[in-house]
């Protein structure tokens, strides 16, 4: 049994107009039927660009926002139906690290208080755990009395990580944990996340837009576009044999720090912007920007993209991709 099993998760936000006569004029389909699972001790990365719904998915999984529909099972237990009380108990097992550690740590609390809070909430005795946690994340136990503003960005993120692992969770959701950090500090925090996983055996649901970071840290990757997963594969498979046109464009657009390689590469340029999730295209959501749709397909083939949403299945490329005409293209 998977540690976390998410099936057909949907999160729609109503768009309303008017103050007294409030009425709904539309629905933002932020997450529109997403399914995935995370095994014990594994790292699954959800990647995509801004607005693709990756963070909303993460928050809906933890029920930090209420999902509209769908099922989230943690160790077999249905979270969407859990009572508030039960949910609080379960949160010991599922924690989150946010992108901006400055916004997610209380500026008026010293680190000691920040790290003893989780114990208090669950009626546990922290004992010597605060000092232990600090040294586990590479901070000195003397730092207990310091406030968040007295730390650098990288150190604050370490505090955020210490708080998340305080109660020995089985799953930690990492929402862009290194994107606010300088390059040399990113590597420190990524190594720390790996060390902790090795020592505590926890699983990560890793939300990121930086594909290089994802290739380094993830075991499996799911690529999201406009509220849905378009491709899912083991990490090296995804990067070496991407089969959805969006994944291919995404990988090809990331510059690599090697001028000689860069001169050999040409990014696949996508036309225009991501469509509004208020009114996503019919059929395949990616078709309005899809280079394959625009250049390679016959009118009949295109009609299928317009009429029929492609299922996320393996069409002979070795892993599932949501494209009627999925085929592997090497883009690195």
């Amino acid at each position: 049994m998977a540690l976390l099993e998410v099936t057909d998760l949907v999160k729609h936000f109503p768009v309303t107009r008017g103050i007294i006569m409030r009425h709904q004029i539309g629905t933002v389909k932020a997450v529109d039927g997403v399914s995935f699972s995370v095994d014990r001790g594994e790292t699954l990365a959800l990647v995509g660009e801004s607005g693709c719904g990756k963070s909303t998915t993460a928050r809906a999984v933890l029920r930090l926002i209420e999902p509209t529909s769908g099922s989230v099972r943690f160790e077999g237990e249905e979270l969407t139906e859990a009572s508030t009380e039960r949910l609080r108990e379960l949160r010991r097992e599922m924690q989150i690290v946010f992108q901006d550690p400055y916004a997610s740590l209380n500026p008026r609390m010293p680190v000691r208080t920040i790290l003893t809070e989780p114990f208090k909430i669950h009626g546990l005795d922290p004992g010597d755990r605060v000092a232990e946690l600090l040294s586990l994340v590479g901070l000195a136990p003397e730092h207990q009395g310091r406030y968040p503003h007295e730390f650098s960005g990288g150190q604050r993120q370490r505090v955020g990580i210490a708080r998340a692992i305080a109660l020995d969770p089985k799953l930690v959701v990492c929402d862009e944990p290194v994107s606010a950090l300088d390059v040399s500090i990113q590597a420190q925090v990524l190594n720390l996340l790996e060390d902790i996983q090795d020592r505590l055996g926890l699983a990560y649901l890793f939300i990121a837009h930086d594909l290089s970071v994802v290739r380094h840290i993830a075991d499996r990757v799911a690529v999201m576009y406009l509220g849905a997963i378009v491709e899912e594969a083991a990490t090296d498979d995804l990067f070496e044999a991407p089969s959805h046109p969006y994944t291919q464009a995404l990988i090809s657009a990331v510059p690599v720090p090697d001028p000689r390689k860069e001169r050999q590469r040409t990014p696949i340029l996508l036309a225009g912007d991501v469509p509004s999730p208020l009114d996503p295209p019919s059929g395949c959501r990616f078709r309005t920007r899809c280079p394959k749709f625009a250049l390679d397909l016959s009118p009949d083939e295109r009609q299928r993209c317009i009429d029929e949403p492609p299922a996320l299945i393996d069409r002979g490329t070795g892993h599932p991709a949501a494209c009627h005409y999925a085929e592997t293209v090497a883009v690195l």
Partner: protein, 337 residues
């Protein structure tokens, strides 16, 4: 560094920018020299607080003095901008030198229509009527790839997506065909597929117009893809400067090497842990004595904490390190090319 070939368009000599604060003097830029030729792209890389953006601001004459203090020379076609009058600077900005910023939403005026803002740049420098200026603005918006430019010109910045705003910024910056464009983290706020669109647009415009571009970024990938030469800054100083290939394949400064080995790579199977640079960049109020990088440097010896190493090497590749040869050896021994 002095490039071989044509007369440089801009040369910056021993530029220093200090800010006097209550906590002490912040040396944001501390004796930096570089030059750029027409049509060339110079990448300036460094982490937050390395002084890369402040040097660009100084070039545009945008540092308020006081609290700032700018010394050295910034020669544009041989004329020193640091002694130019405000009037001279004003006529130069936009026409000869222009700048695009990281966040186009704060750089565009939210209460004016986009087309109006582009036209304004043209009208500020040329005797031209409102209607022809607007026509040129629309043409520019077409050129930078804004669809339905005639209609979009009458929209406000908030109605544009991030990528479209950056395109509008580029239209403004290139309206008068400047010889030099300062691009300060032009794609940092954008998604990677949009970044690819914007960078390829900049390359295309540069090719057509022969614009020199100073590309300021923390993203070594963007630099590898677009810069001819690269300047690496650390704690307000130049750590290393070289042609892009030499810098990435044969770095001579431990900081450059550290940045490269600490990067997660998209194009490689994961083989081992990342090798981060230990510690963190120094506060610019208390820069370590000697080489500012020595507390984080695996190659450091006694001399490093006592003497600031000068920038040495040939004209094409210089680095400020006492142990350049050891860095080059370590690079050659440790990493596959």
């Amino acid at each position: 560094m002095t490039p071989a070939g044509p007369e440089p368009l801009v040369s910056v000599e021993d530029l220093r920018v200090e800010f006097h604060t209550d906590a002490g003097v912040v040396k944001a830029v501390d004796g930096v020299s570089w030059s750029i030729s027409p049509g060339e792209t110079l990448g300036i890389v460094g982490e937050s607080g390395s002084g890369k953006s402040v040097s660009a601001m100084a070039l545009m004459g945008l540092i308020q003095q006081p609290p700032g203090k700018v010394t050295g020379k910034i020669l544009f076609r041989g004329r020193d901008l640091l002694v130019a009058s405000e009037d001279e600077l004003r006529s130069l900005r936009g026409r000869d030198v222009s700048m695009i910023f990281q966040d186009p939403l704060t750089a565009l005026n939210p209460v004016y229509k986009v087309g109006h803002q582009v036209a304004e740049v043209i009208q500020a420098h040329e005797k031209i009527g409102r209607i022809p200026a607007r026509k040129r603005a629309v043409d520019l918006l077409v050129e930078v790839g804004i669809p339905n430019a005639r209609i979009r010109a009458d929209e406000y910045p908030h109605q544009f997506s991030g990528g479209m705003r950056q395109r509008a910024m580029i239209a403004m910056a290139l309206a008068l065909d400047p010889a030099l464009l300062l691009a300060d983290e032009p794609t940092t706020a954008l998604d990677v597929t949009v970044q690819a669109q914007i960078m390829s647009l900049l390359s295309k415009l540069q090719e057509e117009r022969g614009t020199a571009i100073v590309l300021i970024t923390h993203d070594l990938g963007v630099v590898a893809g677009h810069a001819d030469r690269v300047l690496v800054m650390y704690a307000g100083k130049v750590a290393e400067a070289a042609g892009a290939d030499a810098l990435f394949h044969a770095p001579r400064h431990p900081y450059t090497l550290g940045l490269l080995t600490s990067l997660a790579r998209l194009d490689r199977r994961r083989t081992e842990r990342l090798r981060p640079i230990p510690g963190q960049p120094p506060s610019l109020i208390r820069v370590p004595p000697g080489c500012p990088f020595h507390p984080r440097c695996p190659f450091a010896t006694d001399i490093c904490s006592k003497e600031m190493p000068p920038l040495t090497g040939g004209a094409a590749h210089i680095a400020a390190c006492h142990h350049q040869d050891r860095v080059a050896e370590a690079r050659a021994a440790a990493i596959e090319v």
